[in-house]
């Protein structure tokens, strides 16, 4: 089963066949053998600078086509995560000591450094299964399940989607729902929101397993716009309810005049935090809506893939995502695909940098950088080729950069000079093999 070369016999035959049938072929042959199983595999390295998160991941997606357009896909991903992530506490001109999430020991961040929680060391195993089949002539039904397990997190989800073709299958309208149930077994127990970080050994403010439920609806239409162009439009609605707080994120309690973190009296003989920190608190419900549009356009062998997403939620976060890829063939079997992605979001209404000592506590507060105001830019390139036996290989290298701004009104006292958004630089390297 190979292609290429130009045989003299087949060329002669093609000409003679046209003469015999009195026509020219309307479209060239497009045939492909379906193997019993197709495997998509990938190795991923994701690494952030400054010893922040590093992730190595292996993924396998096995798909099987059956007669009559029935289809099964099984996926498995294993992630190994290490590194540190901003805890939410702000940089100080003095060293700060924190109790670890486990409540069993402390760690200290040197003066003038961003406090990072370095206890992240986790392995995540995720599985997906999907079944698709036609229902009658014009409908396609798809049902799936997903599950993942981390040391402190368990996820189970179900989804179903139905699509109907119209207009000689040039238009497809689809609707899907997904339900998920996640259990959070935070290390040491999830803290009571806005309760203080306590001494080593004191787990009085810890709760048992927390959970959240997520309900997603997606409706969409895909439309063939012409011989070279296809488009997809989606609207999605997502409602998450339950424990949406990050059990490991904290907020510094600061002096209302200076903006410095308030020191905390130490209990003699017991290790504990050097300053006042509160565990963050988020609403127990979040409704997100998004519009997504994608266009794929073929132009003289090159394929442009452009997509845009607008998202807004009732935490007052708004985001825009623009994604551009251009697949540039190099000969028959190689291609280069530059990729550019721009993302921008506004901060959540309860996003804050610190809490002022003595003031009434708000109901919700978080200094999670992911709820802040920032732009993200991804730039990268993928190089893919077909091996001699018809398998697909690709490597991609991308750089991801987050640059944020803290709104001035959130800064107290001298924070304008010392506190800044924890910018992020990360590299994404992925190797994929399809056989």
């Amino acid at each position: 089963m190979k292609k290429r070369k130009n045989g003299g016999i087949s060329t002669t035959l093609a000409t003679a066949t046209c003469a015999l049938l009195g026509t020219t072929p309307v479209s060239p042959v497009c045939a492909q053998e379906i193997d019993k199983w197709d495997f998509d595999t990938s190795l991923l390295y994701y690494g952030e600078d400054n010893e922040r998160v590093q992730d190595a991941s292996v993924a396998v997606l096995a798909t099987r086509n059956f007669v009559d357009d029935r289809y099964l896909a099984l996926g498995l991903t294993v992630d190994a995560l290490t590194g540190a992530t901003p805890s939410g506490a702000i940089t100080q001109p003095v060293a700060q000591t924190f109790t670890r999430p486990s409540g069993k020991s402390t760690y200290t961040t040197p003066a003038n450094e961003l406090p990072l929680d370095d206890t992240f060391r986790d392995t995540r195993v995720a599985m997906t299964a999907n079944w698709q089949q036609p229902l009658g002539r014009l409908y396609t039904f798809n049902a799936g399940a997903s599950a993942s397990k981390e040391f402190d997190y368990t996820h189970i989800g179900l989804n179903a989607r139905i699509a109907r073709d119209f207009n000689q299958r040039n238009t497809t309208i689809s609707a899907g729902i997904a339900l998920a149930r996640d259990d959070i077994d935070a290390v040491g127990g999830a803290p009571v929101p806005l309760s203080p970080m306590l001494d080593v050994g004191d787990l009085a403010n810890r709760m048992t397993t927390q959970s959240k439920d997520v309900f997603d609806v997606v409706v969409g239409v895909s439309q063939v716009l012409g011989r070279n162009t296809v488009m997809q439009l989606n609207y999605s609605y997502s409602d998450a309810s339950g424990y949406l707080t990050d059990p490991y994120k904290i907020i510094s309690v600061v002096d209302g005049i200076t903006g410095n973190v308030v020191t905390r009296p130490l209990t003699p003989g017991i290790d504990g935090p050097s300053h006042e920190f509160l565990f963050e608190s988020r609403p127990d419900d979040r409704v997100k809506q998004s519009f997504y549009g994608q266009v794929k356009h073929f132009m003289h062998g090159k394929v442009l893939d452009a997509s845009y997403r607008y998202m807004s939620d009732d935490w007052e976060i708004e985001s825009h995502t623009l994604d551009l890829r251009l697949r540039w063939p190099l000969g028959d079997e190689h291609y280069l695909e530059p990729h550019l992605r721009y993302y921008t979001q506004t901060e959540a209404d309860f996003y804050t940098v610190s809490l002022v000592d003595g003031q009434m506590l708000p109901a919700y507060a978080s200094n999670d950088y992911r709820l802040g105001n920032f732009d993200g830019i991804t730039a990268g390139v993928k190089y893919g080729w077909k091996t001699g036996n018809g398998h697909d290989l690709s490597v991609r290298l991308e750089l991801y950069q987050q640059r944020g701004d803290i709104p001035a009104n959130l800064l107290v006292g001298n924070q304008a000079g010392t506190v800044s958004y924890p910018d992020l630089d990360a590299v994404i390297a992925q190797f994929s093999y399809r056989f």
Binding site: T17, A19, L21, P25, V67, R137
Partner: protein
């Protein structure tokens, strides 16, 4: 649908002339309408991606009319048709119509492309060979005798006039089915934009993919000839597929397997031919002829197909 290998070269099919056997059936088949009817000794079907039953009926009428027209015109079992007139001309010249002339021109080209192995006058060899799995090889002298009446080079073809020595016979069995598939597919395409698959006994062509991302799925038969489990699935979005070969037709003597592909230059089976060859090409005629030419190359079948740069699937016993 399942693609069962058909033998292009030596199609010794039982005569089928009874007009009342020409039944057409229409039925729903999954997402498609399916039209089935017999023609050219094979079960034939159209699969139509449409909801419109009246359209299906109209297309069934057009397709069967064309299939049966070609069968009636080119079957060597029907007396009075052009093939019969040529075969009974006893050495006199016969002037043929343009369609027949086209087929003869095409056969002449194949004769050259195949180094004289594709030969529409080779049908007589079937009198000597019966591939029933036994060890009864024909008498060498008998084969030699028959070979005297085989050979396109003995025919005088000056389009549109054909003059053939008495006793020789021509047979379009090696082209007719693929030709009919392409003709029917062409007529369907003229009539409707609904995607259609035309399948005559495993030789097939499609007029377009059913749906934007979907493709027609064709099962490839296993070597054992079991139709229950295809060994593979071929997705066909456009173009055609043809299969040549029949794993159940061979002779076995002294441990040597004699496949059913006959080489008209020797009168004996081609050595080392694959059990079956499936080729994908723009048209069914091209696919079918590439199958046959590959088969006639014997052990070099795969090498030839690879050189030609076509998509193919070979099975060897």
């Amino acid at each position: 649908m399942l693609l069962s290998p058909s033998s292009a070269i030596d199609s010794e099919r039982p005569p089928r002339v009874k007009p009342n056997a020409r039944d057409v059936e229409l039925a729903r088949h999954g997402k498609f309408w399916r039209v089935t009817f017999p023609a050219m000794g094979s079960p034939c079907e159209l699969l139509l991606d449409t909801d419109d039953r009246s359209e299906v009926q109209a297309l069934a009428g057009i397709a069967t009319a064309e299939a049966w027209r070609i069968e009636d015109k080119f079957s060597r079992y029907i007396s009075g048709n052009i093939v019969d007139r040529i075969n009974t001309a006893a050495g006199t010249s016969v002037e043929v119509d343009p369609e027949t002339a086209g087929l003869i021109d095409f056969a002449g080209l194949l004769y050259r492309l195949s180094d004289r192995r594709f030969d529409i006058t080779s049908g007589a060899l079937r009198k000597a060979w019966t591939f029933d799995g036994s060890d009864r090889l024909p008498d060498r002298a008998a084969v030699r005798r028959i070979l005297r009446q085989v050979g396109w080079h003995r025919v005088d073809w000056a389009s549109p006039v054909l003059t053939m020595p008495s006793g020789m016979q021509i047979d379009f069995g090696g082209i007719g089915k693929e030709y009919a598939v392409d003709k029917v597919a062409g007529l369907v395409r003229e009539q409707t934009s609904s995607p259609c698959l035309v399948n005559f006994g495993g030789d097939l062509a499609v007029t377009g993919p059913p749906g934007r991302q979907d493709s027609w799925q064709v099962g490839r038969e296993s070597l054992q000839g079991s139709t229950a489990l295809p060994v593979g699935l071929i997705q066909l979005r456009s173009g055609a597929l043809a299969t040549s070969g029949d794993t159940r037709r061979y002779l076995l003597k002294d441990g040597i397997r004699y496949g059913h592909i006959l080489d008209p230059t020797t009168g004996w089976p081609v050595d080392g031919a694959p059990a079956s060859v499936t080729v994908a090409a723009d048209s069914c005629v091209q696919a079918g002829m590439l199958c046959t030419l590959a088969m006639l190359r014997g052990a070099e079948a795969e090498a030839m197909l690879a050189d030609e740069g076509v998509q193919y699937w070979c099975l060897r016993a």
